[in-house]
């Protein structure tokens, strides 16, 4: 019962913030709504017993990636969005299309899927067991993602650098 109440409250906050992301015209408001989505998702993960994933979601996603987004919005001085012809067309076609698609999918999921229920805290998601899986069964993906992150760091530094910072220094006479 308490599980259902908590799921509904935080699910509602999540959905409302996602809709707010679409409705707002200034990107900083969309960014802050996305932070609220990530926070409420972290609570949903906690309800399912995935405590390590919830903590990593807050630390990495809401605390680092979204801070990066907010930095870029501040640096580039992004202002309110303009309404162009292309965006009006996509508004009239896109929103009804997605609504119909998602209502259809929700109806199928509720009436016809054979899945059961989940209890609160069903799976023990403590760091010790996740570490067992991560360093034994998933060792290769783990090492590959570390190289991926290294490549991403180097790529980001090169792409965002000013052009004159990348010139080799000239020889002095």
């Amino acid at each position: 019962m308490l599980h259902l109440i908590l799921f509904s409250v935080f699910g509602f906050i999540c959905a409302a913030a996602a809709v707010n992301l679409l409705v707002q015209s200034h990107p900083i408001n969309s960014a802050l709504s996305l932070v609220v989505v990530m926070g409420s998702l972290a609570v949903e993960y906690l309800l399912l017993g995935a405590e390590f994933v919830a903590a990593v979601q807050v630390i990495v996603y809401a605390g680092a990636i979204m801070v990066l987004f907010v930095f870029v919005i501040m640096l580039l001085n992004a202002g309110k969005e303009e309404r162009t012809k292309g965006s009006r067309v996509s508004l009239f076609i896109g929103i009804p299309g997605m609504t119909i698609g998602s209502v259809l999918m929700a109806w199928i999921l509720i009436t016809r899927s054979g899945t059961g229920s989940v209890e609160a805290g069903a799976l023990p998601g403590d760091p010790r067991q996740i570490a067992q899986l991560l360093f034994h069964d998933f060792l290769l993906p783990f090492e590959v993602t570390s190289i991926l992150v290294l490549i991403a760091i180097m790529g980001a530094v090169v792409l965002a650098a000013r052009p004159e910072a990348l010139q080799p220094t000239e020889e002095k006479r």
Partner: protein
């Protein structure tokens, strides 16, 4: 006891909002944020299924999705800064030099 389909509906709703944002928004940073919203919706369905089938690898995969999303966000935002520096605008409709 919450039926699993409720979690899947929330995940699908987040994904649908992400796709809608990707289609209707014109600011490049907001489009990128809709991509992150889609990734979050997918993460939720991973964790929900991991709880139902008692398979912890669902949560480990969420971990990898987050790492890849972080790398993608870093590189994507660097590209956005580079585009802004040359085109002076954040509106995707105006980044159309390759258009016929």
């Amino acid at each position: 006891m919450v039926p699993l389909s409720y979690y899947l509906i929330l995940s699908g709703f987040l994904f649908a909002c992400g796709v809608t944002g990707f289609l209707i928004k014109r600011n490049i940073i907001t489009i990128f944020m809709s991509i992150e919203l889609m990734l979050n919706g997918v993460n939720l369905s991973f964790v929900a299924f991991a709880a139902q089938w008692h398979a912890l690898s669902g949560q480990v995969f969420v971990f990898f999705v987050m790492v890849v999303a972080a790398a993608e966000a870093a590189v994507g935002l660097a590209i956005i800064i580079a585009v802004y520096r040359t085109r002076e605008t954040l509106n995707v409709d105006q980044v159309n030099l390759l258009k016929l």
